[in-house]
Subunit: 238 residues, 2 copies
């Protein structure tokens, strides 16, 4: 096989994987928006649809993983292309997790519709979900366009999501203390808010992968990640 054919083959393979990642991203974005909509409108049919559709996301992740393994085995990509393949594998893991969180939101919605609504909560959560969906969209755009600046912007916006979460956390505590009948609903709403905040972390991780791929440097340290309940506010409340 001529060198050129080989390179063409690799490029074509990478493009195919990229197509699948973008499709996956589209499904996850849709799931985030739909699950938050279902919660606000107490629409259990829509919630069920989100739960069913998560299978498609899981299948796509499996496909992407297999394609990547095949590309590595058959095409033996060198430095830069190998980095692309490994990045894609990481991005698909992050997307799959976000899909799981959306599914979980939908699952909790089917419980929450049976409880008394907590004033204003579903609307705030939907706003937060919209914010995260836009982060995801931009993180994926940044990946496709190899745009480190856009990626850095996504990373910065994670703080807004964290602030939204912190505000909600305090709100839920207040609702629970005021009326114990709110406790069960607030436990679920709190988990939902926390999971959306975690989706923001996953978007941030995708953005960091993009920065790494474009600049060769991982943005350092104080990267927002994982689980960060507002400890300060809690201490103030103790």
């Amino acid at each position: 096989m001529a060198e050129n054919d080989f390179t063409l083959g690799l490029d074509r393979d990478l493009e195919e994987v990229q197509t699948h990642i973008m499709k996956m991203g589209g499904l996850v974005e849709a799931a985030i928006l739909a699950s938050a909509k279902a919660l606000e409108e107490r629409d259990t049919e829509l919630a069920d649809e989100v739960r069913r559709n998560d299978k498609l996301i899981d299948e796509l992740e499996q496909t992407v993983n297999e394609e990547c393994a095949r590309v590595i085995a058959l095409r033996q990509p060198a430095a830069k292309d190998l980095r692309t393949v490994l990045t894609v594998m990481k991005i698909s893991t992050h997307l799959e997790r976000c899909g799981d969180y959306a599914k979980n939101l939908a699952k909790r919605t089917t419980v929450l519709v049976q409880l008394q609504p907590v004033e204003g909560a579903a609307r705030s959560i939907r706003r937060m979900a919209r914010e995260v969906e836009m982060m995801m969209k931009d993180a994926l755009d940044a990946y496709i366009q190899r745009d480190a600046e856009l990626a850095a912007d996504v990373r910065a916006r994670d703080q807004d999501v964290d602030q939204m979460y912190n505000a909600l956390f305090r709100e839920f505590l207040t609702h629970m203390m005021e009326d114990p009948r709110n406790i069960t609903a607030c436990m679920h709403l709190h988990f939902i808010a926390k999971n959306i905040e975690r989706m923001g972390d996953h978007c941030t991780s995708i953005a960091e992968q993009v920065i790494y791929q474009v600049t060769g440097d991982m943005p350092d340290e104080n990267r927002p990640k994982g689980d960060r309940t507002p400890y300060a506010s809690v201490e103030a409340e103790k």
Copy 2:
């Protein structure tokens, strides 16, 4: 380079990566036990130590990732060896997440010591943490010994952890309803219990990777994963 030298080089590289994974596993196991101990004994110094040590786990994950990328690029491993490398990368991701959860447990401990203790909670959480630590130990042993049976056993034990979590969830709800002054502490304790349950899920994922590597088949469907608050019990309580 002779074929033999090449294979030797690959084997040596794989062994080195394996050593790092086992070291990482040891650190994560220690972090799980220490963080639960710090919680029960209200030992903030130990909690701080867990938080500091998480850096080492993160660094090891970075090392493993870089080593794997290098092995793929330089040694171009074929089917079986490639699968090993990709499996190792996945295992290191799971371990790193568990390290994060342990760190989070330690962080919440520094808040919880300032609140009134919730009766029996810390002891139950420590029991749950011990269970998960043993799952992790066995999952890693199963990986090293390529023991699919042991891996299947780990997978089955995840249900015990889920049951422990479900029992705690109900207990926390009761404590909150009985006395609103327990609400803040119970929110933290609930997150801790949930995160330990998630560690169990990660151990299960590692076990599934082992099964896949040994048998070539991914154990199907009903794999326990993600976020599974006891919906049934919640519905009963509404």
